[in-house]
Structure formats: structure tokens, C-alpha cells
Amino acid sequence: MALLEVEDLTIGYQSQRGFLKAVEGVSFSLDKGRSLGFVGESGCGKTTLGMALMRLLPPNGRIREGRILFDGQDLLEKTDEEMRQVRWQKMAMIFQTAMNALNPVHRVNDQIAEAILTHNPSLGKQVAYKQVEGLSRLVGLSKHRLRDYPHQYSGGMKQRAIIAMALACQPKLIIADEPTTALDVIVQDQILEEIKNIQKEFDISIIFISHDISIVADVSHDIGIMYAGQLVEYGAREEVFESPMHPYTKALLSSYPTLTGEKAQLMPIPGEAPDLIHPPSGCRFFDRCAGARASCRTNPLVWLEITPTHKVFCYQCGRQCGR
């Protein structure tokens, strides 16, 4: 059975101009020990999705439809108090801005120990601090630096501390929202390696969220491409990368400079993402898609299964396959 099953999730924000659907009709499932990456441009709803899974949406945000089944339980039916028990203990998050996620006036080890003690008060201080040392070894933080304050840490060390904190209660699922965006390439590489090792060792499931397709590809088994609040392509990373189907995925891949192969002209995607308060009918990529036909506007979109592990949300792709 899947650890996490999300069905037809629609999330939005109340704004002055109306209800903005940041995520619409997203479904996916994630097995134990697997990792799933969501890629898309800013505004595509990927962070909203991560926050909704943790039930940490801002006050004007609301989950309108759908179900989130985590470990057999429906998270949307839980009260805030029950949710607090799930959060961090079973499901932890690594936030986008590592620099600001630590409390500046507490020592790093106190902060990590606090996370442990809050959820397991019976453990006792000594055991908790012992666990902190173990965690620091796991994420490659020197034991001697644990009594430092966050401002004495470099960016990479802060990120390691955050990862240690996310692991503190041995969660089953970690949601990592742009975990390395603010870091240098070498540090980024080390952190990603660390996350991969930890995942293998503890059989944790991970959801990666990033705009950087190369990072997501590096760490995820499966990849979901998001555009304007919808999932448009979903599948095993090899299939999505080697035979991308959706025009948006193709465009995203060809707008990314690489270091290998011929130096090709980058193809930026023309135009802008649609308004999500009054989204257009039919395919949302219509205005920017080179292969769009009039029928894309009028025909209802359905998921097309290309292989059992690769599907795409595009009307034209279906026509081309003759289905």
C-alpha cells in the first residue's frame, strides 16, 4: 500500500479579486522509501502543494477538494491538535530558506533536542541530547559545533542542521522544498548526497520540490511536472527525461543550458502563465504551445497513459498516438 495517496486535490487562496486556484485536481501516490520530485516555474503551485500536505497553509489558503491519505489516515479530517501529532513525528519538512528556519537565539543542539522532546517528552533530556549527537554525525555536522548559535554556521551547515531536525523524530515522509536553492554548487552536491544516503538508510519517502529540473532528476525516482496549478506529466524520471511528451516538459528541458553535447540555442517559452483566478478552459498551456490546435481549447483533457509508469495530460499527445 502506498504511504501517501493524494486524490484530486484542489487548493486555493482567497484574494481580493476572487478565489485563486493555486493547485487543481492533483493526484499522485508515493510508496515507502521512494522519492518523488515536483518541478515547475514559480507560481505553478508546487510550494502550495507541499504546504497543504503538512496542513501549513496561510490563513487565506484553503483545501477545497480532494483527499490526502497518509499512512492509512485522511489528513483532511484531522483536527489541528491531531495534525500536530502527525507533523514532524511522521511527516517533516525542510523549508526553502534554510537561513531563516533556525531560531537565532538558541543553540543548535537545544533546538534539535527541543524537537525531539516536544514529541517524546518521556525520553528525558540526556537521551535526547545523545540522539542529537547521533543525528549530527548522520548529516555530517561536527559534534564540536553543536553548541554554536546559527549565525556561527555557514549556509551549508545550517542546511545540515535543518535536515538533522527534520530527521529528529524518524519521520516516514520528508517534504523538501527547494532544499539547496541558496547554496553553492559544491555544498549543494554534498547535501543532496547526504539526503540520498539517509533516504536509503532509513527507508524514508521524500518529496522534492524545485524549479531546477536537474536537481530533482538527481534525487527522485519519479517526477511530476506542474504547470499553472495542474500536474501535466508524471512518470519515472528516465522516461520523463528521455522521452518527454507534454509540450511544456519539452520546452522546459530545452530552456535549460547543459554542459554536455552540442551547444544548442536555448529555446525560452514565449508568453506567460495564465491567470489562475479566471483560468482558461481546456489546456492551460494553450497560449504558449507551438503544437496547439483549436480543439485543445474545447476538448476536455484526460490523462493519457503512455506506459504504466508514464502519463501525460495533453489532448494532442493522445491524438498523435491515435487513441
Partner: protein
């Protein structure tokens, strides 16, 4: 790049130090050397890339060039004329010829100025043309960065624009004076991939049409490869490797450049990328050494040579130079030497 090309800008053994604060009384803390005897010649019409991690001094170099700061030692020449001591009219004239595009378009634009006012401001400051001619220049600049139709954008304010649109306004603002030299400091680090690609193509188009020379500052090797003719790799204020972009990235000679290549996400860049493994697991412990800046992290380095002496930039061939004792032309740098 051909040797026949003329140098437009030259950094001649530039040193820049920042003084850190010490404890309460008395002596100040240690100096941080942001740039250590950096020597670069940039040729007219090229896009020169400055690549490195944060803290490598690449942004400082850009700021010195546009005279936001002064070097502690060394000279900067534009067309052979020293610009470090310029004053008054000469200084204003220089700032017309040399412009900068900043990293963060969310902070570099004045929130109280409309797009039109932002782009026309430099023209007013430099008293170029009358109102009508200025308006023409602004429309042109807006079109050239893809803000079209310009009338739609002219009266918007920065908060009404997306990140990519803001950065295009910032580029138009820099280009409206028709500068000869532009410093672009990580212009796409705040933007998505498809937006970045648009910005890159705008810069390439500017170079083609207006013959502008660019100093492109970036931490992304892939972006440097796409845009630049030549690149210089910097580490802690020192020039480590300099050469044609394609050559340096295909055949990196400095262990640090190789370490940067190793750190690229593997799945996308996997095909044909060599693994160098030149980075030590843990930093080497040393006390008060004066040698190669990369010594503490370099697997190839050997004491005492590398810890006592700073390797000079040595020429491997006409265009490719490396600051490493063990770099050989054509041969891969030794791997696995013991310290």
C-alpha cells in the same frame, strides 16, 4: 578568441581587502582579501564570464569596475586609460560608458518609479537629447528587451511586474545609454529556467546588435558555457583558471574547476562528463600557510610545495592559463597524490 582583438577593459593586479570588526576594544580583526592580485584583460565585443562560488570575489570585481568601490591596490584601465582616480565630468562620462545589471530585480528597481521613468532616468541624468528623443530611446530600449508593446508596460510600477519583466526593465535601464561595457551580476539567479533563457538570449542579441562587451558574473557553469566566449574561474579572490569557455569546461585543468564539474547534478549532466574527484572529504588542517588558496581542500596538492608557495598563473597554451603547479598542457592533472 583571436589575439587581434583589442582589449577594452583591463584589471591590473587588483587587490581589495575588507576589514572585519574585532572585539570590543583595540585591535581590529583580520582582513578579508576579496580580490588578490587579479589580472584580467577583457576584449572588445566578447562576453567574459567570471565563475565561482559565493565569496569568491566575483561580485566585488564587478563593483570595482563600475566604481561602486575602489581597489586597495592595482589599476583598472578602460581603453588604456586608468579609471581608478576619475573625478567630476570624467567620472560621469565613464558611468555612461560602463553600466551594471544587478542580481536581484526585486531590490534594484525603485518601487516609486514607473517603468518609463526608470528607463528614462539615466538619459535625464546624463542630459541626453530632448524630451522627444528620450521618449524614442525608451521605447526602443523596451522593445529590444522584449517588453512589448511598450505602451502596455510604460506606466506600470515594479510591483505590477513579474521577476522576469523586472529584470528586463533593469536591462533596458542599463542599455538605454548605449554603454560599451556592461557588468551583468548573476542576472538570472532569481529567475526560473525559461525566464533565464529569455534573459540570456536578450544579452546575446544586445552583443550582436550593439557590439556591447559583457562581464557576465555567474555561479552556473552551464550558463557560462552558453553565453561566454572566455571564462575565468575564481576561488577566494584568486584567479584559478582562465581560457575559452568551451575549452575550460571540456578540459578543466585546475583541481578546483574539476571539483566544480564534479558537483553538478549527475542525472542531467551525466552523458560524457568525467569524474575528477579532486575534493578532499575533509579539509586539510594547516596553520598559517601562504600557499595555494585551494590547498586545504585539494586532493592533488602536495606539501610542502603547495602549502608554502602560491602557484602563479601559468600558460598552458595561447589562451588557456591555470594557477596550479601540477597542471600540464594536454595531460590530465595528476590524481591521488599524497599530502
Amino acid at each position: 578568441m583571436g589575439n587581434g582583438k583589442q582589449t577594452i577593459l583591463e584589471l591590473d593586479r587588483i587587490v581589495k581587502r575588507y576589514r572585519t570588526k574585532g572585539f570590543f576594544f583595540g585591535a581590529h580583526g583580520q582582513d578579508v582579501i576579496a580580490l588578490n592580485e587579479v589580472f584580467i584583460k577583457i576584449l572588445r565585443g566578447e562576453i567574459f564570464g567570471l565563475v565561482g562560488e559565493s565569496g569568491s570575489g566575483k561580485t566585488t570585481a564587478g563593483r570595482l569596475i563600475v566604481r561602486l568601490e575602489q581597489p586597495d591596490q592595482g589599476k583598472i584601465y578602460l581603453d588604456g586609460r586608468d579609471i581608478t582616480g576619475l573625478k567630476g565630468k570624467a567620472s560621469k562620462d565613464y558611468s555612461r560608458r560602463v553600466q551594471m545589471i544587478f542580481q536581484d530585480p526585486y531590490q534594484s528597481l525603485n518601487p516609486l518609479l514607473s517603468v518609463f521613468d526608470t528607463i528614462s532616468e539615466p538619459l535625464i541624468i546624463h542630459k541626453i537629447g530632448n524630451a522627444e528623443a528620450r521618449e524614442d530611446s525608451v521605447w526602443q530600449a523596451m522593445k529590444s528587451v522584449g517588453l512589448s508593446p511598450p505602451h502596455d508596460f510604460a506606466h506600470r510600477y515594479p510591483h505590477q511586474l513579474s521577476g522576469g519583466q523586472r529584470q528586463r526593465v533593469a536591462i533596458a535601464h542599463a542599455m538605454v545609454l548605449k554603454p560599451e561595457f556592461v557588468v551583468a551580476d548573476e542576472p538570472t539567479s532569481m529567475l526560473d529556467a525559461s525566464m533565464s533563457a529569455q534573459i540570456f538570449n536578450i544579452l546575446l542579441e544586445m552583443r550582436r546588435r550593439l557590439k556591447v562587451t559583457f562581464l557576465f558574473i555567474t555561479h552556473s557553469l552551464a550558463a557560462a558555457r552558453y553565453l561566454c566566449d572566455r571564462i575565468a574561474v575564481m576561488y577566494k579572490g584568486n584567479l584559478m583558471e582562465i581560457g575559452p569557455a568551451e575549452e575550460v569546461l571540456r578540459n578543466p585543468k585546475h583541481p578546483y574547476t574539476q571539483a566544480l564539474m564534479d558537483a553538478l547534478p549527475k542525472f542531467v549532466h551525466s552523458g560524457g562528463v568525467k569524474r575528477y574527484e579532486t575534493l578532499l572529504q575533509a579539509e586539510r588542517e594547516v596553520s598559517g600557510y601562504v600557499g595555494c588558496p585551494f590547498f586545504v581542500r585539494c586532493k592533488v596538492a602536495r606539501a610542502p610545495k603547495c602549502s608554502r608557495e602560491k602557484p602563479p598563473l601559468k600558460k598552458l597554451d595561447d589562451s588557456h592559463s591555470v594557477a596550479c603547479f601540477y597542471a600540464e598542457p594536454g595531460i590530465k592533472t595528476r590524481s591521488g597524490g599524497k599530502a
